[in-house]
């Protein structure tokens, strides 16, 4: 990587950026929105897992995940071709087809990335054509002393796993299970000394793009509020 500024073209707009930077953040910084869930600024190895940020690049046979694609001089990018739009919409429909869709009572309501992307892609938050797939998990996983996890809301983006892995502390989040059963494992309990560090950290809850991972304290007061409202 060098300090060279190079020029690329995104949807006919010329952009100058550092050679070798990842394409997605370059676009975002230049007010070209590309939907994304798993990317976090500053990642060395973006996981490229949500597949929402696919774009077309001249010379490539197949759509490319922009979060993982390093820019080079003269690169020509299309973020809004019909094919890309269809692919993205389908990725989004797939994500919401496994979601429990309880926006009104969700801690992330109005701040949720899925809601933002739905608006951008003109897609409903509930699938019509695709059937709903209920993930075989309880609504909450409550074993951790300071965190609460809602597996049916989790989009498996891995942001939480990533930020937790960056920290020095002993407790580590990771994925567990395979296929549709994949979840983030929160096996920490009151008895696990490593999970004590989490009380003051909560870094994972801050990056979760949806309402799947929350601080227990916040979650409890939010739930109390909702219940009070419901009573009125």
């Amino acid at each position: 990587m060098s300090d060279n500024l190079i020029t690329i073209t995104v949807d006919e707009q010329k952009i100058k950026a550092l050679a070798g930077a990842f394409l997605l953040p370059v676009c975002l910084e230049n007010d070209i929105y590309i939907p994304n869930l798993c990317f976090l600024k500053g990642m060395d190895d973006p996981p490229a897992s949500c597949r929402l940020c696919m774009v077309e690049i001249a010379g490539e046979d197949e759509p490319v995940a922009s979060c993982r694609c390093r820019i080079s001089e003269g690169m020509e990018v299309k973020t809004n071709s019909d094919e890309i739009l269809r692919l993205r919409q389908l990725a989004f429909r797939l994500l919401v087809s496994t979601n429990d869709g309880s926006c009104r009572t969700c801690i992330a309501n109005h701040g949720c990335e899925l809601q933002k992307i739905a608006k951008f892609l003109h897609q409903p938050l509930r699938t019509k054509r695709l059937r709903h797939i209920d993930r075989d998990y309880p609504k909450f996983i409550n074993t951790h002393p300071f965190l609460i996890y809602e597996p049916k809301k989790c989009v498996l983006c891995g942001r939480c796993v990533h930020v937790c892995g960056q920290l020095e502390k002993g407790y580590k989040l990771d994925f567990a299970q395979r296929g549709m059963d994949s979840i983030v494992s929160l096996f920490g309990s009151d008895l696990d000394p490593a999970s004590q560090d989490c009380e003051t950290c909560l870094a994972c809850t801050e990056v979760c793009p949806v309402g799947a991972l929350s601080s227990k304290v916040k979650w409890q007061s939010f739930t109390a509020e909702i219940e009070a409202k419901a009573k009125k």
Partner: protein, 647 residues
């Protein structure tokens, strides 16, 4: 310890000694009994066979040697035994259990008169008194390059490999240098046998070109495809050939460390491989300063967790590094930056096993086998409805028809071939009309299938293609690592739709959904698991669309396989009065006696297990299967009651 001798001279000493030992065995004055003891042989009861031989030999006071060998690849005939009785050519026998072992000892070894033709397949050597293996199409058409010695040598004795020229390619490679080995493999155009068909030489060259102190080569023995076992067979039956290939790869790449990644479900392969490494090190064929040269290679075995996706090279590296086996985006390719960021060359067991023969015989020889773009041989594990299932090694470029019909004996029980599923769980299903397709990497891809790892399932007319698609999709969606959206959720939707079609709840518009989802999963998935998972769906939709339509529009399963769409009834005409063979087999007591003392099925109680079809004596063959269930004809069945009994 460097020696003044050249690698070839070093090896010569070892080889001569080995040849002496092996000759002694070949010219043994007492009979030698070789028993196939790879996992497949053991599963068929090879240990009981050995015990049978031992007991009867002892009872009859006959002296003979029993040697364990690997697998010949003839699964239909296990346990396989080769008997080398002085005065006779070595003879191959099939299906030898403990009982047959006793008969062989008494009739052939004791009296020396009767070689038991009833169990004989043939002689391993040309002989006027016995059929030889070459008289069988299976042996005649096969071209065993990689499996040449499988089942004929003792995998736990390095001498038996040395005696057939083992490690001579490595000695040659050490004399001529890694660059020469690389050139030979490049010129041979050896393509990866692990599925993708990427040229091994190109991969090696990339890694060789990176100037770094440390590099790594890995043998991929994860083999997670259900039903595939060619890698296991090679690891278990000729471990030193794998090691020799691995060492040649390391030499060409400039690596000083090599790993064998073997799934933990293959304990015998792990044991044999570990032993082989020790044996090779003791003879200075691996380890420090190999054969007195300045090339050293440290080799070890890593037992994989057994997840299918861990066979994918980037997931395999993650798993080696102690992380969850999840594929990573490429680039960087492992050959550039793999385990711990070091250049890492990963090759399949079969790819590496091919390398010694290329070095020994030269790249021109290799290119004379197979096709221009896919030289060499392909190993398939052929399973399903064929006469002779098992491992088959054929030159690339033969047709599917040749493989299935000429070599594997065609379809069992006089049925019709309907389709072959080729390439493992993500392969494609090709109809009988495409049996003239040529087997090589590119031709198979063109018709929507793939070489994959070499799994080949042969299906007859009784197989429902929608159910086949559902079955494979069920497997891949369950094995998805869960990382990316299209693969994790998309394949699950495929499965849900397919499932609903097989139970008669599908809708026509969902056929378009299947296609749209499939295309998106192929385009949008991160690794090849997702990128190939829709193949069974797309190929069955393309070649067997009418079956999908029949399920949806008529609630009919043309192959009469999908249970909710079929029914069984008993044809009163052939049903034998008084026979009650089927009554006892029915788990739900659904079969009752009719007023004319024949049998009928109570559809309310029937769970459609089909047991009665199998127990109905062939001379009556009265149980019928229909789809949709309403097709049951009205035969005016009345149960037998006291009233009509007296009539």
């Amino acid at each position: 310890m460097k020696s003044p001798n050249s690698p070839k001279e070093h090896l010569m000493v070892q080889a001569e000694r080995a040849q002496g030992r092996v000759k002694e065995l070949k010219e043994s004055p007492i009979p030698v009994i070789y028993v196939g003891c790879a996992t497949c042989g053991l599963a068929a009861g090879a240990l009981e066979t050995i015990a049978g031989f031992e007991t009867v030999l002892k009872e009859n006071g006959i002296e003979a040697r029993i040697e364990k060998v690997g697998c010949l690849g003839h699964c239909y005939a296990e346990p396989l035994v080769i008997i080398q009785n002085p005065g006779f050519p070595p003879l191959l026998y099939q299906k030898i259990g403990a009982g047959e072992a006793g008969i062989l000892v008494r009739s052939f070894l004791k009296d020396g008169s009767d070689p038991c033709y009833e169990y004989l397949i043939g002689s391993l050597e040309a002989d006027e008194n016995f059929p030889t293996l070459m008289d069988y199409p299976r042996y005649l058409y096969e071209n065993r390059v990689v499996m040449e010695h499988c089942g004929l040598i003792d995998p736990e004795d390095i001498d038996s490999f040395l005696a057939v020229g083992g490690y001579s390619s490595l000695a040659q490679g050490l004399e001529k240098g890694g660059a020469w080995v690389l050139d030979e493999v490049m010129a041979a155009n050896l393509r990866g046998r692990g599925g993708a068909g990427f040229p091994a030489g190109r991969k090696w060259k990339i890694a060789r070109g990176i100037e770094k102190s440390s590099k790594l080569v890995i043998c991929n023995g994860d083999e997670g495809d259900p039903g595939a076992y060619m890698d296991r067979t090679l690891l278990e039956s000729n471990p030193h050939q794998v090691l020799e290939g691995l060492a040649l790869a390391a030499l060409a790449v400039g690596a000083e460390r090599a790993l064998l990644y073997i799934r933990a479900e293959y304990p015998l392969a792990v044991k044999i491989m570990e032993r082989a490494i020790v044996e090779a090190q003791e003879k200075n064929l691996l380890g420090a300063d190999i054969m007195g040269s300045d090339f050293s290679l440290e080799v070890s075995v890593f037992q994989g967790s057994g997840a299918f996706v861990c066979g994918e090279e980037t997931a395999l590296i993650e798993s080696l590094a102690g992380n969850r086996g999840m594929p990573q985006p490429r680039p960087p390719y492992p050959a550039v930056a793999g385990l711990n960021g070091l250049p890492t060359v990963i090759n399949n067991v079969k790819t590496l096993s091919t390398v010694p023969s290329i070095i020994r015989n030269g790249h021109q020889w290799f290119r004379s086998i197979g096709t221009e773009e896919s030289p060499g041989t392909a190993i398939f594990s052929v399973v399903g409805e064929v006469e002779y299932p098992g491992l088959v090694e054929v030159p690339m470029g033969v047709t599917l028809e040749h493989l299935v019909v000429d070599i594997c004996g065609g379809i069992k029980d006089g049925k019709e071939l309907k389709a072959v599923q080729i390439g493992g769980p993500s392969g494609g299903c090709l109809p009988a009309s495409l049996m003239d397709t040529i087997i090589d990497f590119d031709s198979l891809k063109k018709v929507g299938a793939m070489m994959g790892s070499g799994g080949l399932v042969v299906m007859n007319e009784d197989t429902c293609m929608v159910e086949v698609a559902r079955y494979f999709t069920d497997f891949t969606q369950g094995e998805s690592c869960g990382k990316c959206t299209f693969c994790r959720i998309g394949t699950r939707h495929l499965r849900e739709i397919l499932k609903s079609i097989t139970v008669g709840e599908g809708r026509m518009e969902e056929l378009a959904d299947l296609e749209e989802l499939s295309q998106a999963i192929i385009k949008g998935s991160l690794c090849s698991l997702g990128k190939t998972a829709p193949n069974p769906v797309l190929t069955t939709l393309r070649f067997f669309r009418d079956e999908y339509v029949a399920h949806i529009e008529e609630k009919r399963c043309p192959a009469k396989m999908c249970r909710p769409l079929i029914a069984f009834y008993i044809d009163l005409e052939p049903c034998a009065r008084g026979c009650d063979a089927c009554v006892a087999c029915c788990p739900t007591d659904a079969i009752f006696t009719t007023s004319n003392r024949k049998k009928a099925i109570d559809q309310e109680k029937c769970v459609k297990c089909g047991e009665c079809v199998y127990v109905c004596p062939p001379e009556y063959d009265a149980v019928r299967r229909v789809s949709p269930p309403e097709m049951i004809p009205d035969q005016g069945v009345e149960p037998l009651t006291e009233k009509n009994e007296s009539e």
